[in-house]
Symmetry: C2
């Protein structure tokens, strides 16, 4: 990477000395992603020079590659003359343009839209209307399409013409006279076909497409299974509207897995650049909610106060039983969230009964182990048995809760990943204590 | 999907009635992935017919798309004549062939290797040697390369010739006389260039490549940032060895995120098709280990037995303090694992100090809330203060453990995702109880 760093120094020097031609020749050689990395390290003054040195098209190509939050990009755009910002937005791929415009306040949105070309305004407005996390919100309109009656040589001409604008030129989508999607031809097919062949005769009519209102999670799953580089998006009537490219699919896969992961931990892991203050503010509401829920467990133990006074040995095993049940419940939760979100597996009774049965086996084994340990330690196998029975029951209930709760949330339309691990642990504390003290009360005479 | 189901019925009928031509015309029209889905639903008898009806090349194309475990594919191969299996393995992309051969026992491996073409044997043997989870293990050797001195029109001929064999024809890698990678040309570049132009003059010399021993996680990160469809793999001396395609990168991203997720839950979420018995057997070792660790918490509470006898009210808040600290520690753990694995961020002191500071803020706020609740509830603000101070200290320690432990594991070369959420919770139970009872002992006189 040393070579690149030296290059970067040369680029910065050219910029600082206002050597426009030198800067352009060096900076434009970089990969767009490297351009964004370098750009992000510049001062406001350096950035203002770049806005003059590069064309809107060159800036748009770079802006397409930003991997930062939309709000950061909006910050850059607002540093420029509004017309330049609007020009950059028109040069970018529509899906990225729409992502950025969608995060702007209404006044800015109106300003930039007014400065964009009329045909683009209509397109952008249309895309802004699609619901988040659907095909419509992910797709771009820069694809290559061709009429079924055209020839291979025409197709090649169209691709050559659109090569610099289309987001992916590997697939050529075939439309009928009503602009409905009826087939696909790959660039590979075109290259090995006779130049005079009619597209209709060489196209693959088994074109896989998604509906504009399809959920992004299902689309990502399909693209992965079929190893597509892009997938076409059609209206419910078969009209071709756009394409979703593999780079956006990867972002979806990442977003969905980060959501599942965040849910399990009860913390948003995408907020990794936070200061301690902001992190605390984001985490506290959930922790305090769980603290209040935890108070009901404390209240329950308080309710059994006389039991604990009579047999203080019971206090010794509270955290062991709640902890073990919490661990088992978290495992069930993780499996359930994964099954629901990744595999779209909704054979729910099968999932729940599997987890409960697993809980019975795990619970029985753990109970056996703990009964023996406690029995020998305290020379009291009835105490051991009470702990064992309570632990088994607590584990089964925790497994039931861990698998049932995300399924219920999925049913009522809430993302099951919200049923976080900490929530299941805290809930399982309550049920575990209830089970434990109820069992202990029955055998109180033998415990003291 | 109705149409496809009817198609499937027609295909199955053709197969069952041994109508070879009809079967071929219908089955080969399906996308390879759909072929695998249908194939997987067939009986052994139906499969044995398919092995006769399709060519090794056609079977190889389908086998390339299998998304099932390698052992399942090996099962299919072993149903066939060994020569057919070897032919299919030679027709498949080398990375997939190697994945399958790598899972075979030595006898089978020797059998199939002996039946494969000599040049392929050497290549496969070489690839089998690369370490798991490195570029070498992911790459395929079916790429398109060209000498720097050739022209655009020669390049187009080469691509046309290799179109059906190469895994991706979108990038053409440019080699010097020593077979070292010196540039890249996209098909897009070729299509818009003069046919007589020399490759060297139109190539992009800023070709991004990875070393054959690079870690798959870092490669996946780069491919995502740069939005590549494939990345070339070179030896430490710059010799071109293969390419890694985007579909394999997606599998890496998925594998790594499943590992992080599994770690957080203390359960392998990839084992989702398990019976309760197998699930229990996989989960029990970890749960029993944590149970034993939990016993030390029980032992500690037992050590403070006289304290609990004197002030049984202390038992009421054990699970509240351990639970809240466990929740906070799990949040820190999730952030730390994510920072280490996704962002490759190893500014460790910054991470730890951030988490500890967050713990102080969260701990102080939770302490304030719980002091007030307990103070009013029990009309005893000293008791409230004891619970509050203990909770704050327990949270800070849990946050420290949650961020420090995965970092320590990363240092000693263990995947930090193994530092599971349940482990942190159980460990935090121990430290929380120690803090709680130590603080309580100081204020014992005021608690009863």
């Amino acid at each position: 990477m040393n070579e690149i760093n030296n290059e970067n120094l040369a680029i910065i020097a050219a910029l600082d000395h206002q050597k426009r031609t030198l800067f352009r020749s060096q900076f434009l050689k970089l990969h767009f992603y490297d351009q964004t990395q370098l750009f992000a390290s510049f001062t406001a003054k350096q950035r203002s020079r770049i806005y003059q040195f590069l064309t809107p098209k060159e800036l748009g190509d770079m802006f397409d590659e930003f991997e930062v939050e939309e709000t950061t990009v909006i910050g850059f755009l607002k540093e420029m003359e509004p017309q330049l910002a609007a020009d950059i937005l028109s040069e970018m791929y529509t899906d990225n343009t729409v992502d950025i415009l969608g995060q702007m306040d209404k006044a800015d949105l109106a300003t930039y839209l007014n400065l964009m070309p009329a045909d683009e305004i209509a397109e952008v407005r249309q895309l802004l209307n699609y619901q988040d996390k659907t095909a419509g919100a992910l797709m771009t309109t820069e694809y290559v399409a061709i009429d079924q009656h055209k020839t291979v040589s025409t197709a090649m001409q169209i691709i050559r013409h659109q090569a610099t604008n289309a987001e992916i030129i590997y697939y050529l989508y075939v439309l009928d006279d009503a602009q409905n999607l009826i087939g696909v031809v790959t660039l590979r097919d075109l290259m090995v076909s006779d130049k005079r062949a009619v597209i209709q005769t060489i196209m693959n009519p088994h074109v896989y497409s998604v509906f504009v209102d399809d959920d992004q999670e299902n689309i990502a799953q399909k693209v992965r299974e079929y190893d597509f580089l892009a997938v076409p998006v059609v209206s419910r009537t078969g009209h071709m509207l756009g394409i979703i490219t593999i780079d956006d699919i990867i972002d979806v896969i990442d977003e969905e897995s980060a959501e599942d992961y965040s849910g399990l931990a009860g913390v948003n892991v995408d907020d990794t650049r936070e200061t301690p203050w902001r992190a605390a503010i984001h985490r506290l509401p959930w922790l305090i909610t769980l603290l209040i829920l935890g108070m009901s467990t404390a209240g329950l133990i308080n309710h059994f106060d006389s039991l604990v006074s009579q047999a203080s040995i019971l206090a010794v095993f509270i955290s062991l039983i709640t902890g073990t049940a919490g661990n088992a419940g978290t495992q069930s939760l993780a499996i359930a969230i994964r099954k629901i979100s990744v595999e779209n597996d909704r054979k729910i009774w099968h999932l729940i009964s599997n987890e409960v049965l697993t809980g019975v086996i795990i619970g029985f084994t753990s109970a056996l182990v703990i009964t023996l340990i406690v029995g020998f330690w305290k020379s009291n196998f009835i105490l051991g048995g009470v702990i064992g029975i309570s632990m088994m029951a607590a584990i089964v209930v925790a497994n039931l809760a861990g698998s049932l709760i995300p399924i219920l949330m999925d049913w009522i339309g809430v993302d099951p990943a919200v049923a976080s691990g900490p929530f299941i642990s805290t809930l399982s504390d309550l049920t575990s204590v209830m089970i434990y003290f109820s069992v202990a009360q029955l055998f109180l005479a033998y415990l003291t």
